[in-house]
């Protein structure tokens, strides 16, 4: 198999033009002791048919959400994806293009990126969004580091109610550049004049909707930037952080039509106030025109980027998650203003119905009292891992045992309910939970 089209005659003629006798000759600059002898220790080639079969067999060792009824979220969500999304996005013109360095040959993609940026701004209430980041977690880390370079301060105050993986990424990338990360529950108490930024999640990792106004005021009072890691689906109904005064809004946009894909490829988004536009990491597309005045789009503010600014760039990011941003763009277009709102409302209604029914079970209660959007921490009164495993046997992916990250919550499951769950499924789940907690 393989994808090399050369015929024997092609090789012969090409070598002749080059002026060598064998392909080997072209490698003469590689010292012979550095050459691989014989074949690598890799399995043999598979023809296409066998390849598909083999990969199907490996896949069948997974239990997917095709056969489980899932209440698991924690940053990655199952949502309705219109059939048109993948069919449009996988068109070869999109799939096999690269970064639109040559704008005239890439107007299609450039326009979709401009549209992506605009829609993300509409959802977050911000003025500028970039073309995408790797994922929500690394986007948050980038945001903190951006706050460092904007403020010159090195202290990052990070809410403990931010997704643990987000916080881990912030830790990984902050320390090497000499910044310290303070993870706290009560943010207000620790903001000081050295604080570069305050980072909160909205809704937070536990699904809670807290009013951000106070913390934003407090941070701004100390000259710190406010970074909000926001869930785009929840922003279908919640006041957007831009309206509340956030300086930077980041997040994970997987929920906007991107397959869960075992956690990748995802697509982070990154928004800032217009005043911060020159500090934003990654690519941005802007509108322009050709000499006949025809509208066109180009990557703009390029001098921020690594290929031009090198060690002084706002970030090292180069390849981003453009295709997933396109997925989100088509998804947002397909659902539109009305459909997007409906998704969010239905998630909320489903989740609150599930919560009401679950909390009727003896020994089952909410961990927190605050209002929530469509995810909530449930105390199941018993070891959450055990309950999760029992429910798995009934065909449910019951949610995330929180003790994996918060040992102080051994009996808590983090449960997400999106619009794809029917009332019947929720009712069955509640019945299964009842059985499990009574077992």
């Amino acid at each position: 198999m393989g994808y090399i089209p050369h015929t024997e005659a092609d090789r012969r003629e090409m070598l002749k033009t080059i002026g060598v006798t064998t392909i080997e000759d072209l490698f003469h600059e590689i010292p012979s002791d550095l050459r691989v002898e014989g074949d690598l220790d890799i399995p043999k080639a598979l023809d296409e048919y066998a390849l598909v079969r083999e990969m199907g067999q490996i896949a069948s060792k997974n239990v997917s959400l095709g056969s489980l009824i899932s209440f698991l979220g924690a940053g990655i969500y199952e949502h309705y994806v219109p059939s048109i999304v993948m069919q449009l996005v996988t068109r070869g013109e999109f799939l096999t293009a690269y970064t639109p360095y040559q704008p005239e040959a890439s107007q299609g993609y450039l326009q979709t990126i401009y549209e992506f940026q605009s829609m993300i701004c509409a959802i977050t209430g911000m003025e500028v969004a970039n073309a995408s980041m790797y994922d929500g977690a690394t986007a948050l880390a980038e945001a903190c580091i951006m706050a460092n370079s904007v403020t010159g301060r090195t202290r990052f105050v990070v809410s403990k109610a931010i997704h643990p993986h987000y916080r881990e990424c912030v830790q990984t990338f902050s320390r090497p550049v000499g910044c310290s990360v303070v993870e706290v529950e009560d943010i207000a108490s620790v903001i000081d004049d050295e604080t570069a930024c305050v980072a909160v999640q909205y809704p937070d990792f536990f699904g809670r909707v807290t009013d951000l106004r106070t913390v934003i005021e407090q941070a701004h009072a100390k000259g710190a930037l406010v970074i909000v890691a926001a869930d785009p689906i929840a922003l279908g109904v919640l006041v957007p952080p831009g309206d509340l005064g956030a300086d930077i809004v980041v997040g994970e946009a997987q929920a906007l039509g991107v397959p869960m894909g075992y956690g990748g490829p995802l697509v982070g988004f990154f928004c800032v106030k217009r005043s911060l536009v020159r500090s934003i990491p990654g690519r941005i597309v802007g509108r322009t025109q050709d000499k006949d005045g025809r509208r066109g789009f180009v990557m703009t503010l390029r001098p921020r980027e690594q290929d031009i600014r090198r060690e002084k760039a706002t970030s090292n990011i180069c390849t981003n998650q453009a295709l997933m941003a396109l997925v989100a763009t088509v998804w947002m277009s397909a659902l539109g203003k009305t459909g997007f709102r409906q998704v969010a409302e239905r998630c909320v209604q489903n989740a609150h119905y599930a919560k009401r029914e679950l909390c009727k079970l003896p020994g089952v209660s909410l961990v927190f009292d605050e209002p929530f959007a469509y995810e909530f921490a449930l105390n199941v009164g018993k070891d959450a891992h055990k309950i999760r495993d029992m429910l798995m046997a009934d065909g449910f992916l019951a949610g995330l045992p929180l003790s994996d990250y918060y040992p102080e919550m051994p009996n808590a499951l983090l449960i997400a309910v999106t619009e794809v769950r029917t009332k019947a499924e929720i009712d069955e789940f509640v019945a299964a939970v009842a059985k499990a907690v009574n077992a």
Binding site: L46, M55, A97, Y114, G264, T300
Partner: protein, 490 residues
């Protein structure tokens, strides 16, 4: 022709498109549920019918060039054929519909894919182990530097704070070094296009933490004395990182791990055919020697008594570098790609990539001379300097190529080559395609001499002509608003 409408310009109040599933549950007042004062008005997304959405993106796709539409010799990017079977296997719901926080027992297939690929990538690159976590090349570079930093720290050499980077390096190298908290020093390229060893020696000091070396270099040349260079750096107590963006020249032929490197990154979206998707997703991978293994990011995929596991218990780990485990579905594609060639075929990739690049060089170097008089590897770096006297720049040549139906090569990189044209044909192109491209290049050279205006006006076959980048930077319209819609309609 009027401008191609933005999707917002197609929107109509009250129009609806795709409808999400109806919830059958009893509902309550929304504001009661999410808290008073927390509700918003609906976000101003476009309001479109389904067919209109299909048409919008279908017609936008017609305004975009891809490998599927034609030759894409963008140097340093390895725009090879993206096999469609990879898309088929990766869209299997048994991969695509798995959640990253499912219990390990339910994702043994996923973990096998990752583990197989780690093993194969280590074997192909000559390192002791590999991780698939970085979502792209730059994040792989940064990760390698974080490992090096942790390694130095673990040996009490945390004071080392300089990273050496060749003047020919890709921009992500210095940028990643900064992100790893290092100062960057530049090392010169010599007259053969290789590292200037004297200059290197001059830079080596106890403060140097690492050198980042691209091999083959961004000049498309195999580094002279690579073993010696690695030895020198090691003697100075520093580590050597290999930028593996150019692995396509080496697959199955030579292995950076054997050259003396301590670690390297790969771009699976280059060498291993995962699609570039208009700028991403990429898929990184790093290979490391065993002394760096303790520092690998969490979690590490391991295999124990037949079962695959996510090992979080890595006390020396640098931490987490991706929200989960990297761009997993790209791993699925890369797995399929490796097995499509298999042990017996992998070396053919590099062999034909190098053949094609040298063929391009041989065919057109009389008009576009090589930057260095050497056999190139998977790409050739030529210069359009001879055309400068006709008022023609590399960019003009590139734009004119679009009129001939080709995607231009990379321009003006590496920075040390004036009027650089960096041409990477890849192994999946036919001789005829390459000949047609070379013919166009030669014809353009003639045009440059006889009718340079043709080049300056190019491209003319595209929906828009050359775009005003300064205008974009000045106006900074990066987000559609009603006000801008009005502007655009004027």
């Amino acid at each position: 022709m009027s401008d191609f409408p933005l999707i917002f310009e197609r929107s109509r109040d009250g129009r609806t498109g795709c409808t999400p599933p109806a919830t059958g549950v009893p509902t309550l007042e929304l504001e009661e549920l999410v808290g008073a004062g927390n509700l918003r008005e609906s976000a101003e997304l476009p309001e479109m019918g389904e067919l209109e959405v299909v048409r919008h993106f279908t017609n936008l796709s017609h305004r975009n060039y891809g490998i599927d539409t034609g030759f894409y010799p963008l140097g340093s990017c390895t725009m090879k054929y993206n096999p469609r079977v990879n898309e088929v296997v990766a869209s299997n719901p048994k991969y695509a519909l798995t959640h990253p926080l499912q219990p390990e027992s339910t994702v043994q297939g996923n973990l096998q894919v990752i583990h197989d690929l780690q093993t194969w990538m280590a074997e192909i690159t000559g390192f002791d182990t590999a991780t698939m976590q970085p979502p792209a090349g730059a994040s792989g570079e940064l990760l390698c530097l974080l490992l090096i930093r942790a390694y130095h720290d673990s040996r009490g050499e945390g004071h080392r704070d300089i990273v050496l980077v060749p003047d020919s390096a890709h921009g992500t190298n210095p940028a990643s070094a900064t992100r790893a908290g290092y100062r960057v020093q530049s090392v010169r390229t010599n007259e053969r296009g290789s590292t200037d060893i004297e200059d290197l020696k001059a830079h080596l000091s106890p403060e140097v933490a690492a050198m980042m070396l691209t091999n083959p270099s961004t000049l498309g040349l195999f580094e002279d004395n690579i073993t010696e260079i690695c030895k020198l750096i090691h003697e100075a107590g520093a580590q050597v990182f290999c930028d593996g963006a150019n692995m396509n020249a080496m697959v199955g032929v030579t292995r950076p791990g054997d050259h003396g490197f301590d670690c390297m990154h790969l771009n699976l979206h280059k060498t291993f055919s995962t699609p570039h998707g208009g700028g991403g997703p990429g898929c990184g991978c790093i290979g490391v020697k065993s002394h760096l293994e303790p520092f690998l990011p969490r979690p590490v995929v391991t295999k124990q008594t037949g079962a695959y596991k996510l090992d979080h218990d890595r006390p020396q780990s640098v931490g987490r570098v991706h929200m989960f485990y990297g761009n997993f579905l790209m791993n699925v594609r890369a797995w399929a790609y490796v097995r499509a060639y298999g042990r017996e075929g992998l070396a053919d990739i590099a062999r034909h990539a190098v053949l094609n690049a040298n063929y391009v060089q041989a065919r057109i170097e009389h008009e576009y001379p090589r930057a260095f008089e050497r056999t190139c590897m998977h790409e050739c770096v030529l210069t359009a300097k001879p055309l400068k006297k006709f008022g023609v720049r590399a960019l003009d040549v590139s734009k004119r190529l679009i009129d001939y139906g080709f995607h231009p090569p990379t321009n003006y990189f590496p920075l040390i080559v004036p009027e650089a044209l960096m041409i990477e044909p890849t192994e999946t192109e036919t001789k005829e395609t390459i000949d047609a491209f070379c013919d166009a290049m030669l014809e353009i050279a003639d045009e440059a001499k006889t009718n340079p205006a043709l080049l300056h006006k190019a491209p003319t076959v595209t929906p828009v002509g050359r775009l005003d980048e300064a205008f974009a930077a000045k106006t900074l319209d990066v987000c559609w608003t009603d006000a801008q819609a009005e502007l655009a309609n004027r």
